[in-house]
Symmetry: C2
Subunit: 363 residues, 2 copies
């Protein structure tokens, strides 16, 4: 057991929300991608929780914000990795990241008076988590001092699907921590290319470090309806064991708004710590293949798959019939109980066509 | 209702046996390919039964020889097309075609004294059935006279996977019906090419016309153990409705031998009627695609399949999850509860690799 330095304690706050269509037929509202083992033999939320286990540094037990309908699945997955959460905050309905983070902040204030919280999405992959932990520890003082700290991913490509953070001046002696000039929405390609070439622009990872009180204070200034709804919902919450159900009507009164729009883009004291930590939002089957297959560019097989005279494929079987792929190269083949997907890896953005087709037909 | 000419009556005898691995993951011992809708919206055995319905010519109700374990499935499929069979002969175990045909011949002799029987596999496709029916009618006299009549498919390619029949001299004025010089086992490619170029060689379709008595007489001469076992099995059979169960021990005493080896290759009076009837043994996914897609070479979709920016594919969903195929061309994609198959159409012969893999693993 690592010695915990209480003065530098960090409360992991893990957000388990969202369910995109980019990983059809796997990810779906009742079973979003963070609850699947996509890049390791553990699920993504298990990997996220273990990344900030007490043994990894000065971490308290995690606070997890999730949809009420995922409670049982989440508890099962936590039990499987022998993690006891500090609290599960069960959203009665989705309201984006600002209300989710606000109820977590409120819980920390209620339980501990205050505390520095590290907010992390549960559906991202971080190949080198030590770099994040070191960066969070380095930024602890700034966060305790009232800064909103973001972690910026050093771009490796002119991505147009991510938001960017433009850095300002140095906030520490070494220049590792910078102030933030501005947040930039998903840019056009020409801009993304310029950001990549010029440097000083980072992908917004959705990972944040701040004190719970500072966050609630800033929210009260820039988006008070979120704070009011969140405090009301938590004041009337029903607790059962570690599970806490915020009041439905009170929580639903919060606007659907991201933490970026609600506070980050407006607050004064915002910092960015650039991190090169092998990050991916695991937003496509191509990304999953790339992370699983690694340098070898071979076949990556999850579950009951068989390949014969085939190269560079991702065969992903999870709850569907076993797959045999013969004589095909560089394809994604997914088998779940909901559907079977077959497409070339470089066409992964077209998965939406299938998701749309089957969703429309079902409705 | 067509008028039936009793003097030219034909008893359809339909053989429902075998279950290959060439249509993995669909065809399997408990549900062989003839019980699936492969080339039309009816199952292959339904198409076979309807081909010789009383309305199609001088046909009696069919005698169907099948495995005892397929009885319920077969009855369901016959009910669905409103066909009442004359008899279902339920083999207690598989013994190849000679014993299967012998028990059918014995049943016809017992019920009708004698009769001309048209023996047909249940898992072949015939695009132009009228040509077969006309050829059978034309050969009726010869069969009633004691000839063993075979129907030879005019080759369209130098196939090495079929047996061939070499024709002899003409047996009718027009030369449409020929005597048989010899039966040839699956030939080497050079021979198959020569057969195709020279003409007078036909694929052995496994379709036969002969009188029940003549067949039993010929069998008694050339392979008496088949006749003895079959007669004994039928004499001790248990009947329930149209279903007749030959005695297990007696039937199992029959050798495992094809009708070709048991009698056709040895009998003296054997004829062949060449037919160009759009025949296929439906022996591969490629063959199924070719029959379904036709001239257009487009996508052929059976069941719940979705294709997007994709050409020349067979998407076949039967009991498995729905399939989305995006940006792939000329592939076979099959989804069943047992497995998912993905391979290029020109690699269909490699399906065995998958069937072998999953069979070995299961055992």
């Amino acid at each position: 057991m690592t010695h915990i330095d209480q003065t530098k304690l960090i409360h992991p706050v893990i957000l388990s929300g969202g369910a995109g269509t980019r990983l059809w037929p796997l990810s779906r509202p009742e079973h979003p991608k963070q609850f699947f083992p996509l890049v390791s033999e553990r699920t993504m939320i298990q990997d996220t929780v273990l990344r900030t286990a007490p043994s990894a540094g000065n971490f308290a037990a995690p606070v997890i914000v999730t949809s009420a309908r995922h409670e049982a699945m989440l508890l099962d997955q936590l039990t499987a990795i022998e993690v006891a959460p500090a609290a599960l905050l069960l959203e009665p309905e989705g309201r984006n990241t600002a209300p989710a983070i606000a109820i977590a902040a409120r819980w920390i204030v209620e339980q501990h008076g205050d505390g520095v919280m590290l907010v992390m999405p549960s559906d991202h992959m971080i190949a080198k988590p030590d770099i994040l932990l070191k960066a969070a520890a380095a930024a602890h003082g700034l966060a305790a001092d009232g800064y909103m700290v973001t972690f910026g991913i050093i771009p490796t490509a002119p991505e147009t699907g991510f938001g960017y953070i433009a850095e300002g001046g140095a906030l520490d002696a070494e220049g590792h921590i910078r102030s933030v000039n501005c947040f930039i929405e998903k840019p056009p390609l020409a801009d993304a290319i310029a950001y990549l070439e010029n440097g000083g622009f980072y992908w917004n990872s959705g990972i944040f470090l701040f004190s719970a009180r500072a966050l609630l204070d800033a929210l009260s200034i820039h988006c008070p309806t979120v704070t009011e709804a969140s405090i009301a919902a938590m004041d009337q919450a029903v607790a059962q064991g570690v599970s806490i159900k915020p009041d439905h009507a009170a929580f639903a009164a919060a606007p659907n708004i991201s933490i970026d729009h609600a506070v980050m883009e407006k607050a004064d004291r915002v910092a960015v710590v650039p991190v090169d930590m092998g990050w991916s939002d695991v937003g496509s089957w191509q990304a999953i293949w790339a992370m699983r297959a690694g340098e070898e560019a071979g076949n990556s097989i999850h579950g009951d798959g068989f390949v014969h005279d085939a190269r560079g494929n991702l065969v992903y079987v999870e709850g569907g019939p076993p797959v045999a792929a013969i004589g095909v190269d560089n394809c994604v083949i997914v088998s779940t109980a909901q559907g079977v997907l077959v497409l070339p890896r470089d066409r992964c953005q077209d998965v939406r066509a299938a998701a749309d087709h089957f969703r429309k037909r079902a409705s």
